[in-house]
Amino acid sequence: MTTMQSAGEMTTPDGGKWPLLLLVGIPALLAAFLTITSLLRLLPMELWWYAISATDATDPRQLLYRHAFLPRVAISLLAGAALGLAGTLLQQTLRNPLAEPTTIGTNAGASIALTIATLYAPWTLEHGKEWVALAGGAVATLLVFGLVKGRRFSPIAIIIAGLVISLTCSSAGALLMAINREYSQELYIWQSGSLVQNGDATLFILLPWFALSCIVAFILLSPLRLLDLGDESVTSLGMSPAAIRLAGIGLAVALSAAVVAAVGVIGFVALAAPALVRIAGARTLRQRMIWAPVAGATLLWLTDRMVQVLPFASEIPAGTATAFLGAPLLLFLLPKMQFLPDPQGIMLSRHRRNGWLLLPPILAMLAALIWVVLAVGYDGVGWHWATGTELTELLPLRAPRVAVSLAAGVMLAIAGTLMQRMTGNPMAAPEVLGVSGGASLGVLLLFVMSPTLGRPAMLVAAFAGALVSLVIVAPTGSRRARSPERLLLAGVAVGTIASAFSAVVLASGDPRLDTLLAWLSGSTYRATPIDAFIAVLVAVAALAIVPFTARWLEVLPLGGTAARGLGLRLDRVRAILLVLVSASTAVATLVIGPLSFVGLMAPHLARMLGFQRALPQLFASAMLGGLILVCADWAGRMLIFPWQIPAGLLAALIGGPCFMLLIARRRQ
């Protein structure tokens, strides 16, 4: 084993420590400068020491310095370091450069566990909320691994499962907040990762947790390093690769859960810190395990200092700011990153079946369903089938909601199918690749900049947002750029910026927040007949246009060269498809919000039902998408009557687990 180690160290060329020192040193200097200047404004230098040892509680400056300022600096360093270490551990154990507590679902699990505990069992928090977070994070992580166990930790499968789990958890969280509105504000601030401290209690909880983890991490150093050699070699050395992985992942989950419990979800640090130190020349695991926490600490410290000098009315939570800084960094780094080839890369099925025959029954089902949801309702006492005058009274209330759900479902499904065909990536969907996020970002920007929200302006903003994000994310045609990891990550980056931005807007306390909140959660409550008309019109137009794209969609999954060989003018085709996807997503996002899994689920359901060719698949998934959202909207109005669950939220909440089951089943 010793020879193994030294061999490992020797084969890595030592590019010098300079890049690493610069990587850590420059942000650290900047952060130190910002810290000292704000400290000087807070308290004269001669009091700095005195105010720590013997704080004068009648002096608000000293109180702030001792119980808010210093703990905050310390916690930013500590949380950043913990995240850097967690990211390194995960990336090493999973052999996956994209693994971090956010992408594998740990953070989402920890966060939803804390939300549930806060709302329904606050006494559990009394004995340390780390344990609650740890339980949630562990369950979510186990779920992710359970889903992909058939695929031997395939990096892409883990990221996909993590993504689905995270989306499901966050929609569940959003739902809980929507039905507990009086508490929401505080949960929002906390969930967006605020480093604001009001004492040193959190610090003294996180500190031993981190220290202990460091010790365990360095005990695990040698076994973890063996993983570089491949599983067969580890086994031949008499060790169990699974046990090593379990230990490494367990430690990372514990670290991440502690950070979530202390300061909320802080994204990207755990991804960026290890990636940056690797680029700067930290090759061996030992180097990365030392430098990544240092880089993570300085990154978060600097981010948190910068957040405070920015001239905003209310402070942006640090977790949001790391998303703003980290997501573009990720987009920038993507072309430079080396991805391990996925041994079982997900391919589109080669199996061909026509499937036209199944369309009429699905259409009939959809029509019957629409009739049922318009007529049937629960009224607090019993179920009731409305007819005659009762129905004519209820229709103005029900019809717009059913119509916008149907239209949104159709449009999202079309967008999803187009994207999956276009990119050759089965995980492509407006929700996953950040197109819905882009659309909502456009609306949010409009919300911030303009006092009134006109429908046409919102539509333009949503369309522009969707198009821009799609152009950023969608592949440029080369095989390398089409790598599924790259695509997903770019989408995640854009989606993260959008949700971070909505967190900022939600934390601002704008009086129009209720409307925004309802929209973000995918409620159809405010749908007007005009909304319904426009949405249906666009959906019908999309259905009328897609048949003309059928040939392109058959050819595109074969790759750029093949497509060009078959006479496709790629640029033009791509531009048309981009506009089509953006327009459908924009309108759908406007009426149903950025949540929902329909764009991802519907195309897969269609394919599983046997619709393999482009055109039948498009129509079938459009019907199924409409079906799903109409059901979700109806169920949302009935389940907790007279309260209402937003349709988009319910679709995501139910769709997520269904989708996971499908993934799991197909793997076997």
């Binding site: 009086e182 004492g199 607090g380």
Partner: protein, 297 residues
Amino acid sequence: MGEFFNHRRTPGALATRRQCLGGLAAAMIAAAAPAAYAGTPRIACLEWASAEMVFSLGIPPIAVADIKGYRDWVAAPRLPADCLDLGSRGEPNLEMLLKLKPDMIIGAYGYGLDEGPFTRIAPLHTVPFYDGTDTPYHQAEAETRKLGAKLGREDEAENLIRQAEVTISDARTKLAGRAGQPLAVVSIFDDRHVRVYGRGSLLQDVLDRLGLINAWTGKTDSWGFSTLGIEELVAVGEVRLVSLDPIPAHIRIRLEQSTLWANLPCVKAGNVTTIPPVWPFGGLAAAARFATLLAQT
């Protein structure tokens, strides 16, 4: 407007109503539920301040949005047990309203609701307390009169206004010994911030009438409060800090761990008093309740 409520209901309706709520089809609520109190208009309230006002005028609302929230945050007057929940205040259930066919819908202010769907079901009356035209207390008086006229409860409205005056002046007598002592009134939703009530709030008007001095003289928003970092409470010094219940349980836990909170002058001096819930955005009943609760501390 008055003839709206003139149609008489059969005396037997009381029993019918109980049965309905016991489990009969809710369609029957619309048909036969009406009057436990003959001639009482059937009112649905979309938010809490209007529910408080309607009930204070002697009309138990038949439905109120977010009843659980009302019980937690408004507390008094206690809604009748058979009052129905309308769903969230942000999205009151329209189908339920349609079923109930109330004589009037009251509320729809401050939650970004479009009035259209409600006016198609029943006449809609809004109670805009904080449009900045007058102090909240005066506005509450004016709105009480307006609502009284609208509901045919003019006498009750005058009575309510007088009663609030009397309650507050009783409290003022009890508090005479503490007159001139400053205090600050806060709500705690989160362990890092407090909502402190000041100029432009109903609670400020009540403090003025009680002859008490609000220690918080800083800026407030159009609803009469300001959200502060808790360290800013240093500015009020060792004064009495009156905290309105409820404080969410998890926040109480975190506050207990907070060394910043523990070191605040008013906390250190043991001057924090918690009083039962008072809805700071409520009407005259809330104002009178606040005065009474303060006098009891």
